[in-house]
């Protein structure tokens, strides 16, 4: 009860509520996330269940057009799946991959950045060169390479089951240096402060000082990059799906839906690509706007006054 009251009075909430853009973007984000994870409950059809799909419903345009059907609000794709339902299910896949990959990146990046910044010297040089090497490969190159290897090794049939963890792994491994560099920089600044010296004087061990004393003081920039990275990972996954190395069409993400519809785009069936595309844009913009607000709030140098 007390904690709730303190939250109500705090500056964080006050400043959040005074920024309509922040409130709006978070509201959109919450609605989309809830809709995505409640997909099995609220979606009108189950796109994973072949029994409910009728090939005669294929390529039905949205409900408000002359040939539209009441049954399918946003129309159907070439296999007769309801676009709205596949979008909801697809957004869930996109969000899981986006958050999962960011968590993996943060996990690797924090461990590497913390050790590099705290121990310095040779370990620092080694880990940071490793990060440089990693960054010199583009994300997509890593993903295409690993994707090709994986698909040949396990075959397409197995790929479908492992696609989500695989994409999380690929995107996570490709961009951890973002976190590692940021964390290292703040650790190096924090390390010189007296409270760290005081902790050593108290007789605490390195591991405890690193995780309990330094890490919490470096989390501000980590939170800011996290929001940017979630958006980046969702886009990265969409791009990989678009070139056919992401989610298979049987378990579509937003990217694979865009790709699936793209073949029919020029023959006039615009809705298959358009709606998933618009949803992807909305999702990314909402995450980025919220991230911008968070960055402004957490950076005292940028107070709007």
């Amino acid at each position: 009860m007390n904690a709730l009251k303190r939250f109500k009075d705090c500056y964080f909430l006050y400043s959040f509520l005074r920024d309509p853009l922040a409130v709006g973007s978070l509201a959109v984000l919450v609605v989309l996330t809830v809709a995505a994870f409640a997909a099995p409950l609220i979606a009108p059809h189950n796109p994973y269940d072949p029994a409910t799909i009728d090939i005669f419903d294929a390529s039905t345009p949205p409900a408000w057009t002359p040939e539209g059907s009441e049954k399918f609000l946003l129309g159907t794709d070439a296999q007769g799946r309801d676009i709205l339902s596949t979008m909801l299910y697809g957004m869930r896949v996109s969000l899981i991959i986006g958050f999962g990959a960011t968590i993996l990146q943060a996990f690797i990046g924090i461990i590497v950045g913390l050790s590099a910044g705290y121990f310095g010297r040779r370990l620092d040089a080694l880990l940071m060169r490793l990060a440089d090497v990693q960054l010199s490969f583009s994300t997509y190159m890593v993903a295409i390479f690993l994707g090709a290897v994986f698909q040949t090794a396990f075959g397409m049939a197995n790929y479908e089951t492992f696609a989500v963890p695989f994409l999380i792994l690929v995107l996570g491994l490709a961009e951890w240096p973002q976190f590692a560099r940021t964390v290292r920089a703040s650790v190096m600044a924090e390390k010189k402060k007296e409270y760290v010296e005081a902790a050593r004087v108290i007789g605490l061990g390195s591991r405890r000082i690193m995780w309990r004393h330094i890490l919490p003081n470096t989390l501000t920039p980590v939170m800011v990059i996290s929001t940017v990275q979630v958006a980046n990972c969702i886009m990265g996954e969409a791009a990989l799906s678009f070139i056919g190395l992401g989610m298979p069409i049987t378990r579509p993400s937003l990217g694979s839906l865009i790709k699936a519809g793209f073949e029919f785009f020029l023959s006039g069936q615009w809705w298959i690509t358009f709606f998933p595309g618009a949803l992807l844009v909305l999702l990314i913009v909402a995450i980025n706007l919220f991230g911008d607000w968070l960055r402004d709030f957490l950076n005292p140098k940028l107070y709007k006054g």
Binding site: K193, V201, G203, R208, P216
Partner: protein
């Protein structure tokens, strides 16, 4: 008083290695501290006072290292301890208090968390017991309603209160020795007296040794029993506080005392020591103080004077007093 001293520092030398050469920030420093005794280390900035303090805890950061001498504490040789053993001494038998209480408390952890952590790092007690001890310690330094205060963050306290909390943390493990590195410099004058009083009282009641590192002779003369005056990495005078303050032998100590505002006659210009302390690369050959000394003679420029007993009953390092 037991015959074995609490702390026996002998011929301590701390050097900082640079690419070309290594510079001694502290050279040949020796002193003893009996159980419950209070020693003041006085000197200008850069005289090697803080480095001496850190050396006792074996916490000299690179590129510095202890290159010579011994530090024996409670009969154990600290320079020879392994890192793990040394951690058990730090914060447990020897505590340290720093200058700026704003900086020494971690801003993102509550005071209680930091206190409990300290206790549990050295004693195998439960969280509850540790909290009770923390409350007890806060009460000792006169923090009101300590149970509530434990849940607060450092920014919710005033400067003087924060320094009292730092002292409480230093006392948590009932150490035998406290090293206070300019504990009152960052505080305003009224609070300074309050903190020094508190520290003095606690040292007496818990029979703790205290090494007070400061540039403030007035503070030292009120609190300590003995003084070591440091200049350019060496002790230039060592002896009982009362004797040194009343009858200083070394020209540098005399200069310091003459420069105190209260020792000047009303309306006169304050006395000063001409020049400034040499930095480590420009220490003159012979007596390090020779360049600024009014009575400098040729012998002063040739040989470093040893620290020897003088007529005043103190040890001083000066050729001209023999």
């Amino acid at each position: 008083m037991s015959d074995e001293p609490l702390l026996d520092v002998s011929d301590l030398t701390v050097s900082f290695d640079f690419r070309r050469r290594s510079l001694a920030a502290v050279s040949g420093v020796s002193f003893r501290l009996a159980r419950g005794e209070r020693l003041g280390i006085v000197g200008e900035s850069g005289a090697g006072k803080s480095v001496t303090g850190f050396a006792i805890l074996n916490l000299i950061s690179k590129p510095g290292r202890i290159t010579g001498g011994t530090i024996s504490f409670e009969g154990r040789e600290l320079t020879a301890l392994r890192a793990e053993e040394m951690r058990q001494v730090r914060g447990n038998r020897i505590s340290m208090i720093f200058q700026d209480p704003m900086m020494t408390l971690n801003p993102v952890l509550t005071v209680g968390t930091q206190m409990v952590e300290t206790i549990r790092a050295h004693a195998g007690v439960s969280r509850r017991q540790a909290e009770e001890r923390a409350v007890e310690a806060l009460r000792k330094v006169y923090i009101s309603s300590p149970e509530r205060r434990l849940r607060q963050y450092p920014h919710e306290f005033s400067g003087g209160m924060r320094q009292r909390i730092v002292i409480a943390i230093a006392l948590l493990t009932s150490p035998a020795l406290i090293i206070a590195d300019e504990p009152t410099t960052a505080l305003d004058v009224t609070i300074q007296a309050e903190i020094m009083d508190l520290l003095l009282k606690l040292c007496e009641s818990e029979r703790m040794g205290l090494i007070l590192i400061t540039h403030d002779l007035a503070v030292v003369s009120q609190v300590t029993q003995r003084i070591a005056v440091m200049y350019a990495g060496r002790i230039v005078e060592l002896g009982e506080t009362a004797r040194i303050v009343e009858n200083p032998s070394h020209p540098y100590t005399r200069g310091l005392l003459a420069a105190l505002p209260q020792s000047a006659a009303r309306g006169r210009r304050l006395a000063q020591i001409p020049g400034s302390m040499p930095n480590l690369t420009t220490v003159p050959a012979g007596c390090p103080f020779s360049d600024r000394c009014e009575r400098c003679e040729s012998v002063c420029r040739e040989r470093i004077p040893p620290l020897t007993a003088k007529d005043t009953g103190c040890l001083a390092a000066c050729h001209l007093l023999d």
